[in-house]
């Protein structure tokens, strides 16, 4: 009797607090969100009506801002993920062997990754608004004379630059660890067989590091799709809402437009999109890993 009580108590002590917190912060809000997404509540008033799937239907209606935000997020994520991984792997290949200053270089490339999106965004706001403009005036180069944060296309590129700048360090660190794990005999054997180092890199090293590339892809995709604070700092989602990512659109709809129920529907769709995209990526990457085995 006493012993079984002690056993139960142990369960409660070890898992209870974590369960409680997890329920309050993740499970309950998630369930409530599904409920609110079926209402027209504005977030403040005492009345709300149950309107079924109308919010969801509106999300996919023609001039939906959320669809626009999805389009923007999808496009920019594609560019960011591709560039971050390519440049990150390139830096890893460059820095895998020790040479004078290589540790310092690693630290420099990794540094932006340890800093927050808001501050990074403002640092680059300073660069784009003042430094680039100054260079434009003194050097008279066309590329520096563009209104970098003022047009749709250049704001898009600006966000790509900042995101890639922030993300490559992560990919580099993981890929250095991954490349260091490639058995020396493998690449040596390929060299003896007459393969160029370029070929060895692509045919031997990359397949061997596929599980790590999976991690890098997963992380860069998830980060890009969830983008929020860099946009807040750098472009405020503008010009004309053209650089508003999904997460920011949800925030605007809930707190600026008081469309609380609708924003909850958006947040559920947002979750499903991230879930779908990352699941597809994991599935494809794992299949590739297996193909290489």
């Amino acid at each position: 009797m006493n012993k079984s009580f002690g056993k139960k108590l142990e369960h409660i002590v070890f898992l209870g607090p974590a369960t409680l917190l997890f329920a309050v912060v993740v499970i309950i809000p998630f369930l409530i969100s599904i409920y609110f997404s079926l209402t027209d509540w504005n977030g403040i008033s005492k009345t709300m009506n149950f309107i079924g799937f109308n919010n969801y239907i509106n999300i996919f209606s023609e001039n939906s801002r959320f669809l626009q935000a999805f389009g923007f997020t999808f496009n920019i994520s594609f560019v960011i993920v591709a560039l971050t991984n390519i440049i990150g792997i390139g830096l890893a290949a460059l820095l895998i062997n020790k040479f004078f200053g290589s540790n310092l270089f690693r630290a420099i490339f990794f540094l932006p990754n340890t800093m927050g999106g808001v501050v990074m965004g403002y640092i680059w706001r300073f660069i784009f608004l003042l430094v680039i403009q100054y260079l434009g005036m003194t050097l008279n180069w066309a590329i520096f004379k563009l209104p970098w944060l003022g047009t749709e296309e250049t704001a898009f590129v600006a966000l790509v630059i900042v995101s890639v700048w922030q993300g490559v360090g992560y990919v580099m660190v993981i890929m250095i660890a991954a490349l260091a794990g490639v058995p020396l005999e493998l690449s040596e054997a390929a060299k003896i067989d007459g393969a160029s180092s370029w070929r060895t890199f692509w045919k031997i090293k990359i397949p061997f590091t596929m599980p790590y590339i999976t991690v890098c892809l997963f992380w860069t995709i998830a980060t890009a799709f969830k983008m929020f604070d860099i946009n807040v700092a750098l472009t405020k989602g503008g010009p004309y809402g053209s650089t508003t990512p999904m997460a920011l659109q949800i925030y605007y709809d809930a707190f600026n437009s008081n469309r609380y129920g609708f924003a909850n529907a958006e947040s559920i769709v947002f979750f499903l999109i991230i879930f779908l995209v990352t699941s597809i990526q994991l599935f494809l990457s794992r299949r590739k890993e297996r193909a290489y085995e």
Binding site: L94, N103, L111, G116, R125, Y134, I176, V215, F270, F271
Partner: protein, 277 residues
């Protein structure tokens, strides 16, 4: 001949990397350099050295940010959240690995699945939940949110660490009459200490840098964190770069210092964290 070729390749590689690194680092240098210039010089001579050292930029920025309050808030929130995350995650991981039950398996699946839920999908109802509990007007609301969200990843990493603890050690301690609490505190915790350090740094950086959770849970002059204060400052003093730039430098200074002190540990920690994923 061959040695010379290798030398040339090495020099090209070094110079190339150096140029990329300089471009990478330039934004930090420019921000720090201009943070001590008078506004008039920032606007006309952005690349030059400061004509006069305007240290008072920093005291102006300190006041504009309300830094003493904001810094205290950020330190309290990040340190207590990180310690709670580490402690709870270690407990959960230990129990899941050594004393699995039907419940713990379900909980593990839920935690893992929650890694895919973006915060933006939780933030709206979370405000309502926290205000129902009366936690939305204190730092506690922010702390609990960070812990609830950070738990999943930390548990995931800790599980790997606990699995690596030799089970014989725990069994021997049990035979010697230790109860599970003693085994956890005296055997398991000391062995998984390296994982603690890794997670400590990762979570500290996350919370220090986080904007979105703070925006939702701590958006109140009294509770502001550094990131919120920076964002507000840019709203109020958008073109006063002699205040904005030193504010940026102050907000990244702690991260810069930790980076310099623990550079190798951080990089090793990130790598090992990812590999376990």
């Amino acid at each position: 001949m061959k040695i010379r070729k290798r030398h040339v390749v090495g020099i090209i590689k070094f110079v190339g990397t150096l140029i990329i690194a300089l471009i990478f680092f330039a934004p930090f240098v420019l921000v720090i350099l201009n943070s001590v210039k008078p506004q008039s010089q920032i606007m006309t001579d952005i690349l030059g050295l400061p004509t006069t050292m305007m240290w008072e930029n920093y005291s102006k920025a300190w006041d504009a940010l309300n830094m003493s309050t904001v810094l205290t808030n950020t330190v309290i929130v990040s340190i207590s959240s990180v310690f709670l995350i580490l402690f709870l995650a270690a407990m959960v991981a230990y129990w899941m690995v050594r004393h699995p039950s039907k419940y713990s398996r379900v909980f593990e699946k839920l935690l893992l699945g929650s890694l895919l839920i973006p915060f933006a999908s939780l933030m709206l109802p979370l405000v309502k939940t926290m205000s129902t509990l009366g936690l939305n007007t204190s730092l506690m609301g922010g702390i609990l949110t960070y812990v609830g969200i950070g738990l999943a990843f930390a548990t995931f990493i800790m599980t790997g660490a606990v699995r690596a603890v030799p089970v014989e050690l725990e069994e021997a301690a049990m035979i010697d009459g230790c109860n599970v609490y003693q085994v956890f505190f005296q055997i398991v915790l000391p062995i998984i200490r390296p994982t603690f350090l890794t997670l400590f740094i990762l979570d500290l950086f996350w919370i220090w840098n986080d904007y979105i959770v703070a925006l939702i849970m701590l958006n109140n002059t009294r509770l502001n964190t550094v990131q919120l204060a920076i964002n507000k400052l840019f709203g109020l003093h958008a073109n006063q770069w002699d205040i904005a730039l030193p504010a940026i430098v102050m907000s990244i200074a702690p991260i810069l210092i930790i980076n310099i002190l623990l550079q190798k540990k951080i990089i090793a920690g990130i790598a090992s964290g990812a590999l376990k994923g």
